[in-house]
């Protein structure tokens, strides 16, 4: 049987639709209740999670009215931003527009900020006062920083002490500071404790900064003052650091005196329980929580992240609202762009299935994460995830990290695949 929303869409394609739509009462930006039976899905956030949901909702059911709300007109990805710091890629390569989602996939794009979500009224209010009705809402706002977590540090100092952990102007600032650092100077990074966005991200970053220093500032020092005692792909990173950069990079674990007690922002001095360290360039990556709108919509629990059904990513607090990506609590999956894109597809498929009365598919989530230790030296971690008793857990025996002690050819292949991965995932989400 033909559905009315399919008919209207088909009519639009033949030229009948335009005049019909114009005569239908109450048609608004994303439809108004009662004007049409096209389901309305609003997606907040156009990063890896949100772009994935928006695109795949349309792929699985083109009749759904999908509106993506994202403040930025172009989006610089965090993946690849460390490569940019090293000068291996340019800013354009890691920046994407929403034109394909709009023009090729029929997603309504609104460049605005959401000021309020009303789960009871099923409405989203934008900063400019516009109100959007939804049947299903997807929230994918990424992370927000806990700026008050470190004494002496605050949002007021990020122009001097960049986090560069949301790509964009902060990345440009760190790029500039590294290049202006005096010869033989000291770069200090303070990564956060778990959980945080992109677990290998800080360590790829120091690798890429070391790559730059090796070529341009060979007597520079890099110190990592860590809030943790171990980190993602640790053995592989440390093996690569030694091979490529000698003793340029010093990692100090939390229990060896790396845990930051406070900082003096003015002098860029970091104090730990064991001593003090003065930086020429200081990169503090603060602890994190779900994006602000997740808190405003009441989607978070005491952990500061959003509990969700582990198959559909529907909030366990508010029905008909889904949360994907970094803000969600997704079992054992890391907060990564690849995870967010995978979750976005699972979420889109479950929404389409529910709206159409189909069986919700139960495919496995995937994470693949490449890091560059050097320009020709790549390493990876991968996992396939299944649902066991309502929890997302890695499939035993699968996944894992690249082998230790692999030869240069293996590392070079993975460096090439890192760039290949980037091209493919950004093609999948923004550029096709």
């Amino acid at each position: 049987m033909l559905k009315r929303r399919s008919l209207i869409k088909a009519m639009a394609a033949t030229g009948f639709g335009g005049s019909l739509m114009a005569t239908l009462p109450g048609c608004s930006l994303n439809g108004t209740k009662g004007s049409s039976d096209a389901a309305r899905v609003v997606v907040i956030g156009g990063g890896f999670g949100g772009a994935s949901v928006a695109k795949y909702l349309k792929r699985f059911d083109s009749s759904i009215d999908v509106t993506l709300i994202e403040p930025k007109k172009s989006y610089m990805t965090c993946p690849g931003s460390n490569w940019y710091l090293a000068g291996l890629v340019d800013a354009k390569t890691i920046t994407h527009s929403y034109e394909s989602l709009r023009d090729k996939h029929g997603v309504n794009i609104i460049h605005s900020t959401v000021s309020m979500v009303s789960p009871a009224a099923k409405q989203v209010t934008l900063n400019d006062g516009r109100v959007l009705d939804y049947d299903k809402l997807v929230v994918s706002p990424g992370i927000e920083f806990k700026y008050d977590a470190i004494e002496g540090y605050s949002e007021d100092v990020i122009e001097q002490i960049p986090h560069a952990y949301k790509a964009g102007p902060q990345t440009e600032l760190l790029y500039k500071q590294i290049r202006e650092m005096p010869q033989g100077g000291t770069f200090i990074m303070c990564p956060p404790g778990n959980p945080f966005r992109c677990p290998p991200g800080p360590y790829e970053r120091v690798s890429m900064i070391a790559d730059y220093f090796k070529r341009n500032n060979p007597t520079a020092k890099i110190i990592i003052l860590d809030a943790k005692d171990k980190f993602s792909k640790q053995g592989l990173f440390q093996e690569g650091w030694k091979a490529l950069y000698g003793d340029m990079i010093q990692w100090i674990s939390a229990s060896s005196g790396g845990k930051v007690s406070h900082i003096d922002a003015k002098t860029k001095t970091v104090y730990t329980d064991f001593g003090q360290y003065k930086a020429d360039v200081l990169n503090i990556i603060p602890p994190q929580k779900a994006g602000n709108i997740a808190f405003a919509a009441g989607l978070t629990n005491d952990s500061g992240w959003c509990p969700v059904d582990q198959q559909t990513f529907e909030s366990t607090i508010h029905p008909d609202i889904h949360v994907v990506g970094d803000s969600s609590i997704a079992g054992k999956m890391p907060k990564s762009g690849h995870s967010a894109a995978s979750q976005g597809k699972m979420c889109a498929a479950s929404i389409v299935a529910k709206l159409n009365g189909y069986t919700v598919p139960t495919a496995k989530n995937v994470n693949t994460c490449y890091s560059l230790v050097g320009a020709d030296y790549g390493i990876s971690v991968a996992a396939v995830y299944q649902l066991v008793d309502g929890s997302i857990v890695p499939v035993k025996g699968a996944g894992g990290v690249s082998p230790m002690g692999a030869d240069a050819g293996f590392r070079k292949n993975e460096a090439n695949y890192a760039h290949g991965w980037y091209k493919s995932i950004t093609m999948d989400l923004w550029n096709s």
Partner: protein, 106 residues
């Protein structure tokens, strides 16, 4: 008013575009299709070449893909990351995903 318009719309649409209507319908989403969409993240959207270093999969001969994946899963065929992925899927899942990817237009 609404009802009349709706009926009018149906008449007009059926008369004008009946052959197109199925294209606008959504279908059931199989686990194989949904899994295949996660392959696109490394292998290119819809399995088409992204211009990067990772091979595209659309239209890949199904039998060849199944054999290669099973061999990477067992370790018989060398790989960097693909063997680690293949271990996450049953042989039946691998066959179903390969069948779907093989059916896509390159």
């Amino acid at each position: 008013m609404q009802k009349t318009l709706s009926r009018l719309a149906k008449i007009m649409a059926i008369a004008a575009i009946a052959p197109l209507s199925s294209a606008a319908q959504a279908g059931e989403i199989s686990n194989a299709e949904l899994s295949a969409t996660t392959c696109f993240q490394c292998h290119g959207a819809e399995g088409k070449a992204s211009g990067g270093s990772i091979p595209p999969l659309a239209g890949y001969p199904e039998k060849v893909m199944v054999q290669q994946l099973l061999d990477m899963k067992s370790g018989k065929r060398a790989s960097t990351v693909m063997g680690r992925h293949a271990l996450g899927y049953s042989d039946d899942e691998i066959r179903a995903i390969a069948k779907y990817l093989g059916s896509l237009k390159p």
